[in-house]
Chain length 559, copies 2
């Protein structure tokens, strides 16, 4: 029977309990939303003892289904004040499921200022002193905890930003090479882990075996079938070659303008080609760059391993959002520089989207010069050290705007804007406004242009429901699973008989539960920043602003 591992930081107790029966068909994001609604007072202080941090693998985790090892890290966000699910790949999800763990619930608060480490394996869960780990960056920390590529072990850690309880702090999960390049980045989940006094979790699945499906034959067939669909998908080809950075040439087009530049003032960047996925791919062979899976069993392999000119590793997660927010948005047109900044963010444990927005705000205020990556690098070092400037930035875009008196704040529900541009890709605006997560592009990507508002609304809703399912099943959105695929796999895995509609209902219920939490927490502002309505981008067809009426947001929830 799957169990919940309940970890109490005040008593330093880690105990297993049976998972309630009604959690049987809940996993990942949906289970996270359910537990948060049941166990966390919506109005509690996110960094206080009443909040909880959840690590929840998906319903297909631990199996051979490609990309199925993703994990939802859930909490009340100290960044938004609402519910949060930060989704992450890496080696964690499969191991949790193989250890029979349906969710780890971390609660309470440490009685002293000490740091702790939690070790989870087949023999149980044990605390170890963590004070000797305090202050370490994620790279040193993962090297020390794992000692390199680690098949059986996985580390889940915070860097200095999480220790400082900064609301832009991430939780790092190790990749197959034992590096901290996978981040549950958004919403300040790392700050909550820091507030719990937990510097690291090491999960070891030595001695466990692959999960047995209820209907092994069908499951094996469907698993293979799904892999085939993924491999034959044109989107996969592109992703395997260029990663998410492959979209840059497209989004920088005159008619799309979704390459945020100068704190989202413009949508095109004159040096976009210098930081594009194609550029990265071109220089990879000479430097030992390559495409890797972020978890065992992933056949897409969209992670860009990026080495510097000397062949030294800088990052294995040079994503489009990172390149846009730390590159064009700051007018930095040097991909080596962006990769260095990304390395720093991974090491410090920072959401690159949030810190990129905060840095853009600081540049707008004149605190840092546009385009000066060395100064940005120094500023990141201030985040690491927790200086006042570092804290203003590490706490994210809204904090930076408040500190520096900037009114052009690129955030929704307190969370910094992703790269996707609501003035031209208006469906993204609807997603940012309506998602209980705040401005989150992964919540529901809507690429359509030149369609009616109603169509955009329906597409955003459909994508958000589907993504809520994907995040609950534990798959990667880049596997592009449809409800039918997931229904088949879930049925064979769990011995149930879900229809496509039943599967979509998991997503619908998840979204509603998330919104319920937000309303009870008093997080009711669904508006996009004013500048998206008042400052047009200039398309060939004329000026374009985000002009979806606010009341559309209300209609979104009619399902």
């Amino acid at each position: 029977m799957p169990r919940i591992l309940r970890v109490h930081m005040g008593r330093l107790e880690a105990t297993y309990e049976e998972s309630p029966e009604d959690y049987a068909l809940l996993g990942g994001r949906a289970l996270s939303a359910e537990i948060l609604n049941r166990e966390v007072p919506p109005r509690c202080n996110p960094l206080g003892p009443e909040n909880k941090l959840l690590l929840v693998p998906g319903l297909l985790g631990g199996t051979a289904v490609t990309t199925s090892g993703r994990v939802s890290i859930g909490t009340k966000s100290p960044l938004t004040g609402g519910i949060k699910e930060a989704n992450v790949g890496g080696q964690l999800g499969h191991k949790l499921i193989r250890l029979g763990i349906k969710a780890i619930v971390i609660e309470g608060a440490p009685r002293d200022g000490a740091w702790h480490m939690l070790r989870v394996d087949r023999d149980g869960a044990r605390f170890e002193p963590g004070d000797s780990l305090a202050g370490l960056g994620n790279y040193d920390l993962h090297a020390r905890l794992l000692g390199g590529p680690a098949r059986e072990r996985c580390a889940v850690t915070i860097g200095p930003a999480g220790e400082h309880r900064m609301t832009g702090a991430s939780v790092a999960v190790s990749d197959p090479e034992g590096r901290p390049t996978r981040h549950a980045a958004r919403g300040g989940v790392g700050a909550v882990m820091g507030a719990k006094g937990l510097k690291a979790i090491v999960v070891d699945d030595t001695g466990t075996t692959t999960i047995k499906a209820a209907e092994p034959e069908v499951f094996r067939r469907d698993t293979t079938g799904f892999s085939k669909v993924v491999l034959e998908d044109r989107r996969t080809h592109h992703m395997s070659k260029y990663g998410t950075a492959g979209v840059i040439r497209y989004v920088n087009r005159e008619e799309v303008q979704s390459m945020p530049t100068r704190n989202h003032r413009f949508g095109r960047f004159d040096r976009a080609d210098l930081i594009s996925g194609i550029r990265i791919a071109e220089q990879a062979p000479a430097r030992g760059g390559k495409m890797l899976p972020c978890m065992a069993g992933c056949i897409i392999k969209c992670a860009i391993l990026y080495n510097d000119a000397d062949g030294q590793h800088l990052t294995t997660a040079l994503e489009f959002e990172t390149i846009a927010l730390l590159g064009s948005n700051l007018e930095i047109g040097d991909i080596d520089a962006v990769a260095q900044l990304d390395h720093a963010c991974d090491d410090i444990g920072l959401d690159s989207i949030e810190i990129g927005n905060a840095l853009g705000v600081a540049m707008e205020a004149g605190v840092l010069p546009w385009g000066d990556w060395q100064r940005v690098s120094e500023a990141l070092d201030e985040v690491r050290r927790g200086t006042e400037l570092g804290r203003a930035l590490g706490n994210g875009a809204v904090s930076a705007a408040r500190t520096f008196g900037v009114t052009r704040v690129p955030a929704v529900k307190g969370q910094g804007l992703p790269a996707w541009e609501p003035r031209t890709l208006k469906g993204f605006g609807i997603t940012y406004a309506t998602s209980p997560q705040g401005a989150d592009h992964t919540a529901g990507m809507v690429m359509a242009r030149d369609v009616t508002t109603n169509t955009l609304l329906l597409q955003s809703r459909h994508e958000q429901v589907l993504m809520a399912v994907v995040d609950s099943v534990g798959l990667c959105q880049f596997a592009n699973p449809v409800a039918k695929d997931m229904a088949g796999l879930l049925n064979a895995r769990h011995g149930v008989n879900l229809s496509e509609e039943d599967v979509l209902d998991i997503g619908r219920r998840c979204l509603k539960r998330e919104r319920e939490f937000n309303l009870a927490a008093g997080l009711t502002d669904d508006r996009l920043p004013d500048f998206l309505r008042s400052e047009p981008l200039h398309l060939p067809s004329g000026p374009s602003v985000y002009d979806v009426p606010d009341d559309v947001v209300e209609r979104f929830w009619d399902f």
Copy 2:
């Protein structure tokens, strides 16, 4: 006919318009709430062009009624995100009414980064360049604008904190001696004035005469009668002698414990006698200290003029709240030190309550040492200069807590806690929770102890309604006016026939309009900080926490 002076900062236009008829019996806080609801989008950015800053004298302003020259400075607060009325004495209110001005509405935003000054007199309202005033502290600024005691002229200004648009910034109004000691302090109204690019307003009522009442004889009689009542009140005697600092000996008692100490951790301060009103009064004669009125015509004279040991002026507003938040709350037990810090706050243009709370949070985080007033003085200088530390503090308690990762946040609706202690004086807790203003002791003082929750609720409601009337009429709460007094004066002044209930209805409607704005703005959190419920104060009768159930707040609005 009374007029509204509408000041547009983008066009640099100041034009008079007729006051709508339905504003006839609205003034001060009630008129402010009405204009904000009609003209300001509740969800707007408080520092953006859609917000407005209102200067609204009361319905009895400009007359000989004692203390009647108070002014409501209204806006959407950048500190709370909700409606704000910061009430201030000084020389402003009488002059506005004598110039026939029912309200000044400052709107729009400057097109450039320039600073402006507005001059208002009998000939109209004119802009003057303000760049040469930028960076000046309030003391230099008022000296330059007024040149000393000024009967006919009054200055309304922001200091460096307002220029930095810090959310703890005040608006300073000159006292009869031409000094910037009267502050509309709370809620960051100074930040809004700064965002408008307005460094100073000079109001000159030369050539105007006292306001004529509709029924001059009755009004004169009632005015004299009211003065007599005030003068004979025992509370006035105490206030005239010791100012608000006179309560310190009482609040520091073992059974009251309302002298916040060490970031509100304790309610008694071992050196309270060294910073009490009695102590101040004792040393006054040798130093030239005295009690003064804060505006012409006030017969209470509760303003403490405090000189240093050399007889040099430090402040004329050494209030209980200032002494508690900058003194005991920081474990500073030296009244000269507190007076120096108060001088700095007046000069920089800072709410002493808000900055005191922010400093307490910084001390709790270990950023500053407890009790070290020189370090506090240096920190205030950082606020003046707008360094990162200065910004974290100048933006108030919530900002400081966020910057330094502190979860014990002494604030309600984002506004720092006053000195009055909800764990022992629980009625204050109800007022802090329910007031649309956030934690504001002046919103409704409830001194009762050992009564039922229901009694406390009724008292808080009564006081809040009454205070809303007092703030709308323009009187000082220390005149202790009752509804009957105000009805008589209003009737004779305006030629109307209001009953006591009609007068109270002004307050009831005002509160409801304020709440309406907050709900539309999404400001729905009515809870007190957790520590007031979880950390008891130890009274002789046993441990005491704030234990009024949260749902009492809902019942508050049943009127």
